[in-house]
Amino acid sequence: MSSTANGKLSINLDTCTGCSLCVLACPVDVIRMDAASAKPVIAYPRDCQVCYLCEDDCPTQSIGLSHDISNSRRYSTYDEFDLDV
């Protein structure tokens, strides 16, 4: 299977039709189109906020998102108080 994955986001390039709806959908410009292959690339993975918009808009269900913590800038009050959850 040909796919591209980076951090939280993966795209199955075999089923991807290159329609670019995921590129349009991303509010934070994580996904770009690769001109040579006419398929999407995960250009700025750090900025992915796991909002599911790309996954929702993909007509061939080629996008997978891990549910894990969406943002490296997020902090936990539980850590501040040494509370184990």
């Binding site: 959908a25 918009l53 894990d68 913590i69 969406s70 800038r73 009050t77 959850v85």
Partner: protein, 576 residues
């Protein structure tokens, strides 16, 4: 550079910007709608949880208005309250006409429930992503020009001064894909850039307060900025996004502490978890401080429609249906809130009933504007209602006024200077900090819910030092590509807004609503007013206080009582 002209320029393509575009186009103005992302998939609108205030024909709006006004402590313009409710009733009809999916009961009627924070006001659940897609289709059909992936860096002033003494003449920016510099001259400009927020906290990372920051630099008056502090319960098990607190509690979700106690019974026995979010977050802080944490969301009691709707209406909700988390139908799950820059109408550019700001030629709509319909208390659903209705009115005002206006003239050297300033970071030598580092520095200011809620002069002073250092950092920071350049401008805008928030918080020497200073814990009646902040030509911030209007008042505020603790202080100090 590309130079475009338009009657009405709208910056921001969420609910507010789209409704403004729709209305202005209906009134035959030439409309240009720009967004740094893709109109209909940008900002907070698509992620708004899908709850909006839902007045229908036949409802007694006096009852609804009274609840908004009283629960908002009368800190609003009551004419706006009625305008919001009457306007929203019509916009709901648009959704129905456009076949936007709305949650309905077995009889086919719209399923309405008490909005979080309210007893009488009703909200409905719908699919915001479909609503946004339909809005884009409607705008396109009306011939409005949409420019996607155009990052606006600054408002254009008629005199080339910031702050301006003449007014706003459009905006400038760059294409995020090509770097092309674009000037848009406009007879009227509407900022509709969404919430004042930081990257990292809320999964709405492109809401960076861009419009508020640009307007402020141009002389726009921001009000009640210390009420920008807000948050929601959105972090599950320290690791996952909880889909929507407002939706969950509308369906019967509870919060319990480590002892299994439904602790909100102690703080708000009537509305419990559906109390003002600030009260629930303060109660969370109190439970943690007093050693009764963690706090859990208990979904064992929600109604069946929660589980069907969450899969259908909210993709993020599916985390609850996976084996990533213990089965929420039998296990309470640890949850925590955030607290920081998260405005959604409690603060922002002050607008009149037509959407006009204090600057000639500049209007505002949606969450970048102060929502004077509900005061500092925004119930679940009222921010998106305000987006629709304020957008509608701003679009109408801008279109009508542009008929009487000439195209603005701006000196070429001003445009050249703006081009240079906008793109300069691309040509800088490598800097010690990247744009991401600057956002990290800012986000750390929101690390602690407890410290964000319990403010004091010392802490605010340190927070101001950080924003000043970030602002200074943006003047030397290198942008490696256009994506980086956009993030650098965003860091500058977040720092601008945060600076005004912290300064406003220092200026307010009392506590009320969700604002609590432990060094000024009592409510001072002289602060029952709007609190404005404006930039002067010498770079200082001047503050003003304005009384709430007496015109159109149907519900008369009681005589203010002096000396009481604000609601947050009462909860934190155990007197709630």
């Amino acid at each position: 550079m590309d130079i475009l002209e338009t009657d009405v320029l709208i910056i921001g393509g969420g609910f507010a910007g789209c409704w403004a575009a729709l209305r202005a186009a209906d009134l035959k103005a030439t409309v240009t709608l720009v967004d740094k992302a893709y109109v209909s998939r940008s900002g907070a609108s698509t992620m708004s949880g899908g709850i909006t205030t839902c007045p229908l024909d036949g409802d007694d709006l006096d009852i609804w208005a009274e609840e908004f006004i009283v629960r908002g402590s009368y800190m609003c313009d009551q004419r706006w309250t009625y305008q919001l409710l009457e306007g929203q009733r019509e916009r709901i009809k648009d959704y129905i006409r456009w076949n936007v999916p709305i949650s309905r009961g077995p009889d086919g009627a719209i399923r309405r429930f008490a909005s979080r924070g309210m007893v009488n006001v009703r909200g409905m659940q719908y699919q915001p992503k479909v609503a946004m897609r339909e809005l884009r289709r409607q705008i396109t059909a009306r011939g409005a020009r949409i420019l996607d992936r155009l990052f606006i860096t600054e408002l254009l002033t008629a005199d080339g001064e910031w702050p301006t003494r003449s007014g706003i003449a459009g905006a400038v920016g760059f294409d995020v894909y090509t770097g092309q510099f674009v000037v848009i001259k406009a007879k009227r400009t509407i900022v509709a850039t969404g919430m004042i927020a930081m990257k990292g906290t809320h999964r709405v990372d492109n809401d960076c307060g861009d419009g508020a920051a640009m307007a402020f630099r141009a002389g726009g008056r921001l009000v009640d900025m210390e009420f920008t502090f807000g948050g929601t319960f959105n972090v599950l098990l320290k690791k996952f996004d909880f889909p929507s607190y407002n939706v969950a509690v509308a369906h019967g979700a509870r919060l319990i502490n480590a002892r299994g106690e439904r602790f909100m019974q102690q703080y708000d026995p009537e509305r419990l978890e559906r109390s003002e979010l600030s009260h629930v977050v303060a109660a969370f802080a109190k439970e943690i401080i007093d050693g009764r944490g963690p706090v859990y969301v208990d979904l064992r009691h929600v109604d069946d429609s929660y589980w069907t709707d969450i899969a259908k209406l909210h993709r993020g909700g599916s985390i609850l249906l996976t084996d990533h988390v213990p089965d929420p139908k039998t296990n309470p799950l640890a949850i925590e809130p955030t607290w920081g820059l998260w405005a959604s109408g409690r603060s922002g550019l002050q607008i009149d009933l037509g959407g006009r700001t204090n600057l000639y030629g500049l209007l505002a709509a949606g969450s970048v504007a102060k929502n004077d319909a509900t005061g500092t208390h925004a119930s679940a659903g009222s921010p998106t209602a305000f987006c629709k209705v304020s957008g509608w009115h701003a679009g109408e005002t801008a279109a009508m006024e542009s008929r009487e206006s000439q195209s603005p003239i701006v000196a070429q050297d001003v445009l050249k200077l703006l081009q240079e300033q906008s793109l300069a970071p691309l040509r800088r030598t490598p800097s010690p900090k990247s744009p991401d580092d600057l956002h990290d520095d800012l986000a750390r200011l929101e690390a602690s819910v407890v410290h964000g809620m319990i403010l004091n002069g010392d802490r605010l002073g340190r927070m101001l030092q950080t924003t000043a250092a970030v602002t200074e950092g943006t003047t030397t920071c290198k942008a490696h590509d256009l994506h980086d350049l956009a993030k650098l401008h965003e860091a500058r805008n977040v720092a601008t807004c945060a600076g005004v928030v912290y300064r406003s918080a220092l200026d307010r020497t009392e506590s009320r609503e969700q604002f609590f200073r432990e060094d000024f814990p009592l409510t001072d009646p002289s602060w029952f007013c709007w609190h404005g902040a404006t930039l002067t030509g010498s770079g200082d911030v001047v503050f003003d206080r304005k009384d709430f209007p007496t015109e159109g008042v149907r519900f008369v505020p009681p005589e203010p009582e002096a000396g009481g603790l604000g609601p947050i202080g009462a909860i934190i100090r155990g007197e709630g």
